[in-house]
Amino acid sequence: MMQSDIKELNERIQKESAFVEMINMELHKVIIGQKHMVERLMIGLLANGHILLEGVPGLAKTLAITSLASVIDARFARIQFTPDLLPADLLGTLIYSQKSEEFVVRKGPIFANFILADEINRSPAKVQSALLESMQERQVTIGDQTYPLEEPFLVLATQNPIEQEGTYPLPEAQVDRFMLKVIINYPQKEEEKMILRQNITSTFPKANKVLKTSDIIKAREVVREVYLDEKIENYITDIVFSSRYPSKFKLSKYEGMINYGASPRASINMALAAKAYAFIKRRGYVIPEDVRAVAHDVMRHRIGLSYEAEAENITTEDIINEILNTVEVP
């Protein structure tokens, strides 16, 4: 890519990324605060990656996703994961039609653009597997027929970190399929007051449709074109490698603390998320700030801690912070 190409791309992005501002404005009509979460939802949407949201109940996780679906003219489905949910309830099944005397396909709720998999850890492994396979393959097989899922296809799964009883924690291999794991925190005091005021009035604000799915697909193409220099590639690989071989990156103190480091999927997703972040910031090229901005969300579910780390109260957040503070910025 030449200098002039980047300049041209930069100009294009200035124009094409204007809708991000519109979505933000519409979403913030409904959701107060949670800027980080909304920004991550946009990254997932633009980088074509699924998102796992984790937070205690009542932090507007579901509201954020339903609102995002409502500002885009797209099909939205909410699936409440329960212990008795079956894969067929999710994907669809073959039903015998007495009228036509043959089996007909009844597609499940997964055939939508935005899927809200609420409390994903409440369903057993077979249902989680069915969803995660569809997320990866972006297609569903019912009977002997395979159906591609409509683009954009974005799964936003939520899970509650507090409850452990009656839950089926997602296996590491399946968590890895989520591009980002976003931790949602409580709102600020001022924000909470505004939430309170908004909810006690008779009219609850509603987000308007401002975008079509085709706009998202088009924006995704532009995001992929965002220039990622080799220096940034090296920076990303250094960050990911430091989670695998900490002692090679002056992080010997974490040598026995990490069971397994981030996978190559982490590198890919970090690059894609950084591109999307640069797009949101209306830039045609990625800078180290973009990588650092998404590093936590990309890596936190991809690092496995050892018992020693747990005994010493070391979290993945501590490790990622230390990695970012140690790996040299290009």
């Binding site: 980047i6 300049k7 940034i232 140690t326 040299e328 910025v329």
Partner: protein, 345 residues
């Protein structure tokens, strides 16, 4: 008759004696046999030489050299030799007389004086036959002396030293290090180091040879190292925004901060957005870095005062004419815009 008389006189002047320390020893025990001969001082004495035995049964263990002393009267001379003898068979053994030959000064004839014969009793160890047979006693352990250990200690030390030297030499060779290191140079103060590095970067002529990215990378690395050493900001691990955030917390003046911002922004564009700045911008970026260092070098109390004149920014600068206050304001405004434009690519 006269010779007989003379001989008798002579005989009377010499006396040979042999004396045992004890005449009764156990088998294998040692005892001393002292042979003495007294004669006038001017006599020539031919002392007998002993081999390692006196008789077949009595062995000489040790013999002292023959010693001669004068008598107190100054006239006679006394010859003494002491033998340590032993015997390994029991019984009574006769020690034969020892013949000592001598010559008088007035007669060249060899004459002989003899000691008396002695009897040595060698007793066996009393054995009680009624008792059980006992095992032979083991050899008595002699204490290990330093003298005996010394050769081993020396050989071991020499081998250890040689091994250490060989390993040391091989390691140094592997690392391609000199065998003897010169003492390290005292560390330069951060601003001096940064200014030296910036000047050497200028003379490398990187951007002039098309290595634009390397030039700006090295430039920002120097600035980052300076911030780390001068202010304790972990700049090598910070992004440009984080660096500016940290620098904004210092007491650096706004102009210096702005210059640093311009250097970092341009470097980011070059490094991550393939921007190719104008030739003047390359030098301006370096000059901004130099100015930033100069303007902030006194902020940290640990900074040593500059000893030598600081290198001047000698790069072609745009000719400047004195500006009025209004013009200065508008100029600073335009430089900000320029920075923004660069940021926009």
């Amino acid at each position: 008759m006269i010779s007989i008389i003379l001989s008798g006189v002579t005989q009377a002047q010499t006396e040979a004696t042999a004396k045992l320390d004890t005449n009764s020893i156990l088998v294998g025990d040692q005892t001393g046999l002292e042979i003495t001969f007294t004669c006038p001082a001017d006599y020539k004495v031919i002392w007998p030489s002993f081999t390692d035995t006196i008789t077949g049964d009595i062995e000489i263990v040790k013999k002292t050299p023959t010693d001669s002393t004068r008598h107190d009267d100054g006239y006679d001379k006394l010859f003494v030799q002491r033998l340590i003898i032993t015997a390994f068979d029991s019984g009574y053994f006769a020690i034969p007389p020892v013949s000592i030959k001598y010559k008088t000064p007035d007669n060249n004839e060899v004459q002989t004086a003899e000691t008396g014969a002695l009897l040595l009793e060698v007793k066996t160890v009393p054995v009680n036959l009624e008792e059980n047979i006992k095992d032979i006693k083991p050899p008595i352990e002699a204490p290990f002396t330093l003298r005996e250990a010394l050769p081993y200690i020396l050989v071991f030390s020499a081998v250890a030293l040689l091994t250490f030297l060989v390993i040391f030499f091989i390691r140094k060779r592997k690392k391609a290090e000199p065998i003897f290191k010169a003492p390290p140079k005292p560390a330069l103060p951060p601003h001096r180091q940064a200014l030296d590095d910036l000047e050497s970067l200028r003379y490398k002529k990187l951007w002039q040879n098309g290595h634009i990215k390397e030039y700006h990378t090295e430039l920002t690395d120097i600035v980052r190292d300076y911030l780390d050493a001068q202010f304790g900001i972990d700049a090598p691990e910070y992004t440009s925004d984080e660096i500016m955030e940290a620098v904004n917390k210092t007491s650096a003046n706004p102009t210096a901060k702005q210059k640093l911002q311009q250097t970092l922004t341009l470097a980011d564009l070059v490094k991550f957005a393939k921007m190719e700045p104008l030739p003047l911008e390359h030098d301006a970026s370096l000059n901004n870095a130099i100015d930033f260092v100069k303007e902030t070098m006194h902020l940290n109390p640990t900074t040593e005062p500059a000893e030598a004149p600081l290198p001047q920014a000698v790069v072609p600068k745009v000719e400047e004419t004195p500006l009025s206050e209004d013009e200065k304001e508008s100029d600073s405004g335009s430089s900000e815009n320029k920075g923004k434009e660069a940021g926009d690519v």
